[in-house]
């Protein structure tokens, strides 16, 4: 029955390399793709960081001369796009890619080739957007791309924006479908919903948010593209269009996007804190349902980004109320994290420090966020550095701290060696101090009226000292990043070798060797508890004290019975299909029909080969 499909060959011989760069191009192993995602996102993190340093150099002194207005606009726009779409989102996806299958007891994601396709589309999309720097100027209308400015800005920058984010959105959507099916359909036997690790829960919520938020952005970007390139009138008020349509669509996407950025970090923190407090997560169900509630309520608050747009008192009041309400589930999480640490026997590892740093900084960012909910207050804050302070406390102090906590926590599992704790702690404190130096004073100058997105400011506004402090802080963060890189390089060469379960963990990924074999689990685990691995390692004495019952994961994989494990074979086609995207993008930006045809042909060729090849070839 299956022989016809199994004997048919694709257009090319099937790739077989398991080492070398070619194996990375053709890989469909979720772990390798996770590493690719992580490395790429980190490179973009460095690029976006350098842009931030230039912004801070320009603003260090009044009447700065480092960047001119045009370049400054490009830098702050690209900094925002980069950090959101090419750093925080894909870094979360990197960890999800690597750890969703490992934490639910699966051997790969549901659609391994689609997974590879996601990565290559993301990479080519990022390169496409960045190539605009060398082709006449990068996007310069802000990451929010407000119409009518974005539809009329000269040059190709905002066309790259509309096409580039569209490409990155395709990558996110493919990833979202993949993760949803993986989590819903591939859990190991016994892994019921309420036994899933919180990181898996948050990944599921994020995937659903992506599934419904990315098409909203897609529609907005299509409209911008039609307006800019093909004479459309969506945002042209002269003939019945409306710039506010862009704002609505963008923020209907944009606010769920905020939770897309922060929920993975919340999931990581919910794994790190219990492990290093040696206690089960306090209020598991409350944290899970708070996360799900955020996923729903996040759709009803978008217009708080538009209080200054003149929607009228009724709309403003309604959205002010919903915005205050959404602080409730976030507060629930905070209390449960504190409850988790309370009375625990805490190990102050770097991962733990980053997780606690996340909680502390996120509280500050959350509180300043609630102040935006008050409409008159918001009128004073809008378009000032107070807003910049707020969202960096949420996205840097929040998301980035959480992601680095995850990196320190899972590094030994991925690379088989631990990161150095001394350098790790130095990294944390440099980040913590540098971060607060950079973004703390922004609250003050913001309330004093320093506008964001403006390339310079005059003397004697009372902002000089604080701006200099912010610039110093930004460079402290940069030094912290260098420390992390040194730590990673040193760990590669002479880091302590990781055992399977270096932190005495609770979840299934720690039952596999470090790094895990290609097939993850030689036997599919049978799950009987939440924190299953912990329950397998420890029994309870009559006094309620945990006692170790066996040595842990060392027993795993000592036999050779994994030879028949069915794994999908590598493939060229996802990368080939993804290669069509930038051609389509350039063709559309410059209206070169042949380039569009070539792009469509490559895409179709890739999909055709993909459809024809069997998923496994012996």
């Amino acid at each position: 029955m299956a022989t016809a499909a199994l004997t048919r060959r694709g257009m090319f011989a099937r790739p077989r390399a398991t080492t070398g760069w070619w194996s990375w191009v053709t890989t469909i192993d979720h772990k390798k793709i996770g590493i690719l995602y992580g490395v790429t996102a980190f490179v973009f993190f460095l690029i976006g960081g350098v842009e931030a340093l230039f912004i801070r150099l320009q603003l260090a002194r009044p009447d700065g001369q480092v960047l001119d207005a045009e370049l400054y606009n490009q830098f702050f726009t690209m900094h925002g796009i980069t950090m959101i779409f090419m750093v925080v989102m894909p870094m979360g996806v990197a960890l999800m890619n690597y750890f969703i299958p490992l934490m639910i007891g699966a051997r790969d994601v549901a659609f391994p080739r689609l997974n590879a396709f996601s990565y290559w589309v993301f990479l080519f999309g990022g390169i496409f957007v960045y190539s605009s720097f060398f082709l006449g100027g990068a996007p310069d209308g802000g990451w929010f791309g407000y119409a009518p400015l974005s539809r009329t800005l000269p040059g190709h920058g905002m066309s790259y924006y509309s096409l580039g984010l569209q490409i990155l959105g395709i990558a996110s959507l493919a990833g979202a479908v993949n993760f949803i099916v993986t989590i819903l359909n591939m859990r190991a036997p016994g892994m019921t919903f309420m036994r899933m690790p919180v990181f898996i829960w948050m990944s599921l919520v994020v995937s659903f948010l992506l599934l419904f938020a990315m098409p909203v952005l897609a529609v907005a970007l299509f409209q911008l593209m039609f307006d800019r390139l093909f004479g459309g009138n969506f945002f042209n008020p002269a003939v019945g269009g409306d710039p506010l349509l862009w704002q609505h669509l963008f923020w209907v996407f944009g606010h769920p996007e905020v939770y897309i950025l922060i929920l993975p970090a919340m999931g990581i923190v919910s794994e790190v804190l219990p492990t290093f407090s040696r206690k089960p997560l306090f209020g598991y169900a409350a944290i899970v349902f708070a996360g799900v509630a955020i996923g729903f309520m996040g759709w009803g608050v978008w217009a708080h980004h538009m209080f200054a747009a003149g929607l009228g008192p009724v709309a403003n009041t309604a959205f002010a109320l919903t915005t205050m309400f959404i602080a409730v589930p976030t507060g629930i999480k905070i209390f449960n994290w504190v409850g988790t640490m309370w009375g625990g026997s805490i190990r102050l590892t770097t991962a733990f420090l980053f997780a606690v740093g996340f909680v502390a900084m996120f509280i500050i960012g959350g509180l300043s966020g609630v102040t935006h909910a008050f409409v008159p207050h918001d009128a004073q804050q809008t378009d000032t550095y107070y807003i910049v302070a707020h969202f960096h406390y949420v996205l840097f102090g929040g998301a980035i701290f959480g992601l680095f906590g995850g990196l320190y926590y899972w590094w030994p599992k991925v690379f088989g060696r631990l990161l150095g704790e001394r350098l790790g702690k130095l990294h944390f404190w440099l980040y913590f101090i540098g971060f607060n130096l950079t973004f703390g004073p922004m609250h003050i100058v913001g309330l004093q009226g320093q506008p964001r997105r403006i390339y310079t400011y005059p003397e004697n506004m009372g902002w000089d000292l604080w701006n200099l402090v912010m610039t110093v802080g930004a460079f402290v963060i940069a030094v912290g990043t260098l420390v992390f890189i040194v730590n990673a390089v040193l760990s590669r060469k002479r880091g302590e070798e990781a055992v399977a379960d270096p932190w005495d963990g609770r979840t299934l990924e720690w039952t596999t060797p470090s790094p895990p074999p290609e097939y993850n689990f030689s036997d599919v685990p049978l799950v009987t508890h939440r924190d299953d691995f912990w329950h397998k390692k420890y029994a309870r004495t009559p006094e309620g004290e945990p006692v170790r019952v066996f040595a842990g994961a060392e027993h795993a994989d000592d036999d050779e019975h994994h030879h028949g494990i069915h794994l999908p074979s590598p493939s060229y086609f996802p990368a080939l299909a993804a290669l069509g995207m930038p051609f389509l993008g350039y063709g559309t930006v410059y209206k070169i029909l042949p380039a569009m045809i070539v792009g469509a042909a490559i895409l179709l060729l890739g999909l055709f080969g993909w459809g024809l090849e069997p998923s496994v070839e012996e």
Partner: protein
Amino acid sequence: MTQAIEHLPSKLAHTAHGPRAFGWWGMVWLIATEATLFAMLIASYFYLRFRSQPEWPPSSIEAPELTLPLIMSVILLSSSIPVHFAEAAIKKGSVTGLRIGLALGSLLGAIFLGLTWGIEWPEALHHFTPRTNSYGTMYFTITGFHGAHVLGGLVFSVWTQVRAWKGAFGADRHLTVQNFTMYWHFVDVVWVAVMATIYLSPHL
């Protein structure tokens, strides 16, 4: 792998379909995201309509004629019937029923697309273009998006039919057919919303 199959203790199914198959769920979520896309396009339409001016369509463009769109609706919606029977046929193992049903469905879809792009659009272009005003932009964007989805469905249909002729499907192996059917029904349902928005609502 052949070895592994020989060692299987019994005839376990190699293939899955319906909700047991990952691919089926993948199609469900793809449709969910596509539905959101169309919902946002239609929401944009009504947003601009109610924000812009008292008369809609603006600048003395007449509300669209209904005769042809209604004929097109009948053709497209009826294409779901043979597609449905094609799926039912292959579930019982009838490859012939599958081939006939898919061929009929794609024929009706192609006629619909021919009417949209061959008659309906040129007719509309006599009165306005996408550049005329926001109404024109909306009209061509929404009908264009839907047409592109019908075209995508046709490509999917041809792909499925080629494989049907090569004998790739059977009673226990027809996930692609199910996914195609689901997608095709979805494109038809979306048309109902497009029809109501673009053609019926301007008459209200």
